[in-house]
């Protein structure tokens, strides 16, 4: 199957329009998680809100409503010299029913990426505020916010997900009035596990095993990569075939691959997504030390770090009780 390779995300640096030989069955789950984490990490340090403006200036009615709700009778929050309760800091930046102002496309993208990956629920977990100057009725509020960090994948009581931390500077006119660090957990609720309709990782396609290649797959099952060798002329060949394409001989035996190889060529799959695969991921054409080439996933580096000539070593990945596939891991000394 040939498929046009498309750029569908702004964080890749692959050439567009490459033609890719697409093989099912050669990505794996750990790599998919690494890919997502790589993509999420790329958002650190980028803006979450730029030049946001408070929908209302600091005002006595909103202060009074807040104090009523909180049961807060502090006289500092009423009268002619009233200040706003400092803990209202974030309230002045809220979008309300009409939506956020100043929120960046970048931040929406980050949340969208997590939604797509199944982390659709959100809960606020931490709020750290420093108050630098009191806010008074009439103060006009503006704010900027940056994505400070995106955690690794975490398992919590609520479910598995990622913590996203933002840090906001809140100004009253030209003055910095306070800073507000806010952490949310974007997560896939635990209760969804095993529920009908819940996201369950589909199982990977099975290899087609026939008389001609059964020996290859039997080797893989035993974590041995077997190369066919013509007993007539000694030529090595892969994939497995009934006859030798050098001399036409029909007799063969096998040589076990040493497991050393290099990336001869590669493509990065962006589109289309298939069940059990989570693009983008790299598919390499690996040249084995013995000289034959085979297609396989390149693991151990982000998809955009795969390069021609990269030294790799054979590994075997067990996906489920039935399926083992060879994969190619970047040799550690080269990372």
């Amino acid at each position: 199957m040939y498929q046009k390779c498309q750029r569908d995300a702004p964080w890749g640096d692959e050439d567009e329009g490459a033609t890719v030989k697409y093989e099912l069955g050669l990505s794996h789950d750990r790599e998919a998680i690494d890919e997502l984490e790589t993509r999420l990490k790329a958002y650190e340090g980028r803006p979450a809100a730029v030049a946001g403006v408070g929908k209302d200036p600091v005002n006595a009615p909103m202060i009074r409503h807040w104090c009523e709700a909180m049961g807060d009778t502090n006289p500092a929050y009423s009268g002619p010299d009233a200040i706003a309760p400092p803990t209202m800091l974030q309230a002045w930046t809220m979008g309300g029913l009409s939506g956020h102002t100043g929120r960046t496309q970048t931040y929406e993208e980050l949340l969208g990426l997590l939604d797509e990956a199944g982390y659709t629920s959100v809960v606020a977990t931490d709020c750290e505020q420093d108050y630098l100057r009191p806010l008074r009725p009439g103060d006009e509020i503006s704010f900027d916010s940056v994505i400070e960090s995106v955690s690794e994948k975490k398992t919590t009581k609520l479910g598995t997900g990622y913590f996203v931390t933002t840090r906001m500077d809140i100004r009253a006119g030209p003055d910095l009035a306070g800073t507000h660090r806010f952490r949310i957990l974007k997560y896939a609720p635990r209760r969804q596990a095993g529920r009908p309709g819940a996201r369950k990782q589909p199982s990977r396609p099975r290899p087609v095993v026939n008389r001609d290649n059964a020996g290859f797959w039997e080797g893989v099952r035993q974590h041995r990569l077997l190369i066919q060798r013509c007993t007539g002329c000694g030529a090595l060949r892969h994939p497995w075939l009934p006859g030798c394409n050098a001399c036409g001989g029909l007799d063969w035996d096998t040589v076990e691959a040493s497991g050393e190889g290099t990336v001869y060529s590669y493509v990065v799959m962006h589109h289309p997504p298939f069940p059990a695969f989570d693009p983008p991921y790299a598919v390499g054409l690996i040249e084995l030390a013995e000289g034959v080439r085979m297609i396989g996933n390149v693991a151990g580096v982000p998809y955009d770090k795969v390069r021609i000539g990269l030294p790799v070593r054979l590994g075997f990945q067990e996906y489920d009780e039935e399926l083992v596939l060879p994969i190619w891991r970047v040799r550690e000394e080269t990372v």
């Binding site: 807040w66 006289p75 309230a91 809220m94 809960v123 606020a124 977990t125 709020c127 505020q129």
Partner: protein, 139 residues
Amino acid sequence: MNAGDELPPLELEITRTLIVAGAIASRDYQDVHHDAELARQKGSPDIFMNILTTNGLVGRYITDHFGPTAVLRRVAIRLGAPNYPGDTMVLRGTVEEVDDDTATVRVVGANSIGRHVTGTVTVTVPAGTTATVPSAGPA
């Protein structure tokens, strides 16, 4: 005020009204803070208090104790067990550190299912003013 001082606890009934009023006063219209049916669809047994309300209650707890001249410098909180309607949360505070007229108070708010909030508040109490409630004495 001295390190080790314990603030008198503040007991708060977590009513549906408090949760909804706090959410709306903080302009937080997330449905899980006012619509029980949608909250259940998202896996929560009921609506629950939003973080801005918790933050406001922690601030109130500190200024209730130290009085109207107290100035909040910093409030840092972490949420744990949610505040659902019908529960009771008890806020407790311990002065951890005193530097001149500024204190760091450790605050814990527990409900029937666990610790709803843990955090620290830094508060300046100008000299010459005293707490409205006498401290419980050295710990």
